[in-house]
């Protein structure tokens, strides 16, 4: 499709500024009289703070103030919150320990924020921070989720066994019965490795206080500026919402890590008043990103799958221990529960599912949503189990999946979700063709001739995004509603501004949202612009995460457009002296049924604003409408990944030889952007499977992967180009018929890669990341076994 409408691969509007160096990221902004903050961070994994002496630091040149937890208490600034209350199996509430913005007597992970120095220059702030004298008394620590409930290192007073909650979903009794009656049971121990998000733009914030207006402004690297404002006002208690403006300018990637409200941004805006209203800027060094951005994943799971004698899945049972890190980050609690266990049915008809989750504190950075948030962990469990079961049953892994696919919709799973539409087999068939699965045996033989081991792995993922129906999540403990808002402003000349609560950090909203509006109103694509990321401009918004900006954000825009169209019809009817019922709108033109009367959209807009031709008592002048949209259901993207790897047994290096992915995202708004999202997601998933892993040293609690010298980011030469395809079952709950595409790549890929690696090696299990060392170890194990 060509043109600029829905379905066309329109080139992005936002690119002009990014390719010319004119993007405006938070660190690119410098305010008059700006000062700089530098944080003193804990060098210990767990310690009591005996004393903090700031005298020397405060006396350093350029220093305007050194602030600690004492000042936080003085100003009664509240602690960081977790916005989703999870109730344990026994009915008790989750054990949320205090999370002050600067430490209050204790530090709980390496990198924990202890004090802040504000100075005229960043060098001065950093030099003075080194002189803040903190006396620590180290305490026993634990960095391992699996040991959290048995360790002596208690992270918070409220949780004696470090357990935040013990939560369950599904029917335990029925599931136990299914296992009892099973013909075959497949069991796996699964670790979902801890990851560090690493958006390329490090977090940054500039807080300022206007002494004349008595109001604060915060520039910050946020995926959801309105949520930041709400939390900083309501929970940190800095000021009422109307006295705080939060601006998130261009944001250089987020992947979840910029959803959360962090201590640093709250501190910057808070201390600006303490330094006379001067702006206070903080930009993370990459090492700080490693230490103090919320991490992702970190699950330890025991999983089992029951099958009957015909190869049908009859039950799935899971126990997961999920590390929360040292504190509960903003949305952390919902990730290993409602975003995880509700997806354990995968694409399959599984009559009995039971999952139990222990969330635990460890002396590590907080863990929260990271691209996919819970769904990659669920998909990894299901797709590793299914693949392993098929191999054990000596069934073709694709046929085993096919046999168990959900084929009737809507389909109610035993774990809350109701799948609305899909054709899983269509994606599988297409992926198998594109991947030339039939030719695999020949390719494997060719690899073997070269001394290489070739393997093929499937992953049939489903995910639930477009988060989420507010009443439903409210009943499950969410502290917020997850609707989205939009305002469509038609200017008198017919150009359009869309104000949206979604906020792009690379997804291209300025383009896709304009495509929708351009299509609906028949307005030139170039005459549509998107306004986002500023609480003073946009009415409200819940932000961008969980692949919700299309399904929820655009749906809100669509609703506002409905209102625009209805209003414009009234205006057009008045001007053309016709009944509103007789006015039709198509391709940007209003016509009157049965006549040759017509008006262009721009003419109607002008007529609405000059208000000469209608009775203002009946029709209000102007053409501006807003809408809040609350989704009726999640949306359910699904698809099939097929990964083919070639392993060099001499070095343990795994090369991705072929990668095919077929997704059903319903209707695509901009295929070019969708493909870009999938490609990026797949590489993040390959990164998780083969390269990335956050490592804390068990004995010292130090982060060993604290820079790009030790944390392996996927680079261009690590991956090939991918074969992407699409199938389409339109989503029935939004008028665009679309499903979210932002996380699917990262959700579907890790099990496909690991299934391929285990296939190549002919083994059952291998840990992620399957680095060359890990694979080489496995190869040595095979050699020993063969001897």
């Amino acid at each position: 499709m060509t043109g600029t409408g829905v379905g066309a691969s329109v080139k992005r509007k936002e690119d002009q500024r990014f390719i010319t160096g004119k993007g405006q990221y938070t660190d690119d902004i410098n305010l008059k009289d700006q000062t700089y903050a530098y944080f003193v961070r804990s060098p210990h994994a767990h310690a009591t703070i005996k004393s903090i002496n700031t005298k020397k630091a405060a006396a350093m040149p350029g220093v305007l103030g050194v602030f600690t937890g004492e000042h936080v208490k003085e100003d009664k600034i509240g602690g960081l919150i977790c916005g989703w209350a999870i109730t344990s199996k026994d009915g008790s509430g989750m054990k949320a320990g205090p999370h002050p913005i600067l430490a209050d007597g204790k530090v709980r992970y390496v990198g924990d924020h202890v004090a802040v120095v504000v100075a005229e220059t960043k060098e001065q702030a950093k030099a003075a921070a080194a002189l803040v004298d903190v006396k620590y008394a180290p305490l026993a620590h634990n960095v391992d989720a699996a040991k959290a409930m048995s360790t002596k290192a208690q992270v918070h007073d409220v949780a004696a066994d470090n357990r935040v909650y013990n939560w369950s979903i599904g029917d335990e009794g029925n599931t136990a019965a299914a296992f009892k009656n099973a013909a075959h049971v497949t069991k796996l121990d699964i670790v979902n490795n801890r990851l560090i998000p690493n958006a390329m733009e490090p977090r940054a914030a500039i807080g300022s206080y206007d002494t004349g207006m008595e109001a604060y402004t915060l520039y910050t690297t946020s995926q959801n500026p309105h949520v930041a404002r709400l939390v900083i006002s309501a929970f940190h208690g800095l000021c009422p919402e109307h006295k705080l403006r939060v601006i998130a300018p261009d944001v250089g990637g987020g992947f979840g890590s910029k959803i959360f409200i962090y201590a640093e941004e709250v501190v910057c805006v808070w201390v600006s008043k303490r330094v006379g209203g001067r702006p206070v800027k903080w930009t993370a060094e990459r090492t700080e990103s490693f230490l103090a951005d919320a991490h992702g994943r970190d699950h330890v799971t025991k999983a089992e799958l029951a099958t009957d004698s015909s190869g049908r899945i009859t039950g799935l049972r899971v126990h997961t221990t999920a590390s929360m890190g040292a504190y509960l980050s903003t949305f952390s609690s919902c990730v290993p529960t409602y975003l995880y266990a509700t997806l354990l049915s995968g694409q399959y008809n599984i009559p009995n599912i039971y999952a139990e989750v222990d969330a635990v504190y460890t002396n590590t950075a907080p863990v929260d949503a990271y691209r996919g948030a819970g769904r990659p962990e669920a998909t990894y469990v299901v797709e590793r189990l299914v693949e392993t079961a098929a191999r054990e049953l000596k069934m073709d892994p694709a046929e085993f999946r096919r046999k168990n696919f959900v084929t009737q919709f809507p389909h109610q799973t035993p774990v809350i979700m109701c799948y609305d539409a899909g054709d899983y087999d269509a994606s599988l068939v297409k992926a198998q063709e594109m991947a030339d699965v039939k030719g695999f045996a020949a390719r494997k033989a060719a690899s073997a001739k070269n001394g290489k081991l070739r393997g093929l792995g499937y992953s049939a993922y489903i995910e639930a995004c477009g988060i989420a129906p507010s009443a439903a999540i409210g009943s499950l403990g969410a502290g917020v509603g997850l609707w989205e808002s939009a305002e469509v402003r038609v200017n008198p000349v017919g150009s359009v501004e869309i104000l949206t609560g979604s906020h792009s950090h690379g997804q291209g909203h300025e383009t896709t949202f304009a495509q929708l509006v351009s299509d609906r109103l028949g307005v030139d694509f170039n005459n549509v612009s998107v306004v986002h990321g500023d609480t003073d401009k946009v009415q409200f918004g819940m932000g961008t995460y969980g692949s919700r900006s299309g399904a929820v954000g655009m749906h809100a825009i669509s609703k506002a457009l409905d209102k625009i169209e209805a209003k414009a019809k009234k205006v057009a009817a008045a001007v053309m002296e016709a009944s509103t019922d007789d006015v039709e709108f198509k391709n940007g033109t209003f016509t009157v049924k049965g006549t040759d009367k017509k008006m262009a959209f721009g003419e109607v807009a002008l007529a609405a604003y000059v208000a000469h031709k209608f009775n203002s008592a009946e029709i209000e002048p102007g053409l501006k409408e807003s809408a809040f949209h609350d989704p009726a259901n999640f949306v359910f993207p699904a698809g099939v990944h097929i990964c083919e790897v070639e392993i060099d047994p001499d070095t343990g290096v795994t090369e991705i030889a072929n990668y095919t992915c077929v997704d059903d995202f319903g209707n695509l708004i901009n295929p070019m952007i969708v493909e870009g999202q999938v490609q990026g997601g797949i590489v993040q998933g390959i990164g998780q499977a083969l390269a990335e892993g956050c490592v804390y040293d068990e004995s010292s609690g130090q982060l060993l992967t604290g820079s790009y010298m030790d944390y392996r980011m996927p680079r261009a030469a690590d991956v090939p180009s991918f074969n992407l395809g699409f199938t389409c079952t339109p989503c029935p709950t939004n008028p665009m018929g679309m499903k979210g595409c932002g996380e699917a790549g990262a959700i579907g890929s890790p099990p496909a890669v690991i299934n391929a690696v285990t296939d190549a090696l002919g083994i059952r299990e291998i840990a992620m990341p399957a680095t060359p060392q890990v694979v080489w170890n496995a190869v040595q194990g095979l050699k020993k076994a063969a001897e």
Partner: protein, 154 residues
């Protein structure tokens, strides 16, 4: 404090710097050219790549004082007379960017790669040629496409 003079994007500039002032700090903070980004502290990510005397370097690991007398080109200096450089155009055409943060460094590296390796670049050469630049958004596929097509038009 050392005084440095250099040509940045064809314009003679002069400034007082400290010994420790990095080239990227001079460019961003003294000259206000914020297209060059800082993504790490260990000279790995490549968001800060600029050309010094025609060669791509990491401006986060280069002292400003050491560039006295040098000719520096940043992303802001790539377009000529309001016309985008073919590599810039190609990144847009092939969706070689998402959040845009690594993009200036990627484009500067890509232009340098073409200077070294010529206009006909295969995928492998491009992927290895970009080993000093990290992108977290795109999965590199469209960057590779953009560089390949941009190279041919240079």
């Amino acid at each position: 404090m050392p005084t440095v003079s250099m040509t940045v994007n064809g314009k003679a500039v002069k400034g007082e710097v400290e010994g420790r002032t990095l080239l990227v700090e001079f460019i961003r903070e003294h000259l206000g050219l914020t297209g060059t980004h800082v993504g790490c502290d260990t000279s790995q990510c490549g968001a800060c790549v600029v050309h010094v005397d025609g060669k791509a370097v990491k401006s986060c690991s280069t002292l400003a004082a050491a560039c006295d007398g040098a000719a520096v080109t940043t992303i802001e200096g790539l377009a000529k007379d309001g016309k985008l450089h073919p590599m810039q155009e190609s990144f847009r055409e092939h969706h070689g960017l998402q959040c845009g943060f690594c993009t200036p460094g990627m484009i500067m590296s890509a232009v340098d790669l073409v200077k070294r390796e010529g206009k006909k670049l295969d995928e492998d050469t491009i992927r290895h040629g970009l080993e000093g630049n990290i992108c977290r958004c795109t999965g590199y596929q469209n960057i590779v496409k953009a560089v390949q097509a941009g190279a041919e038009k240079m």
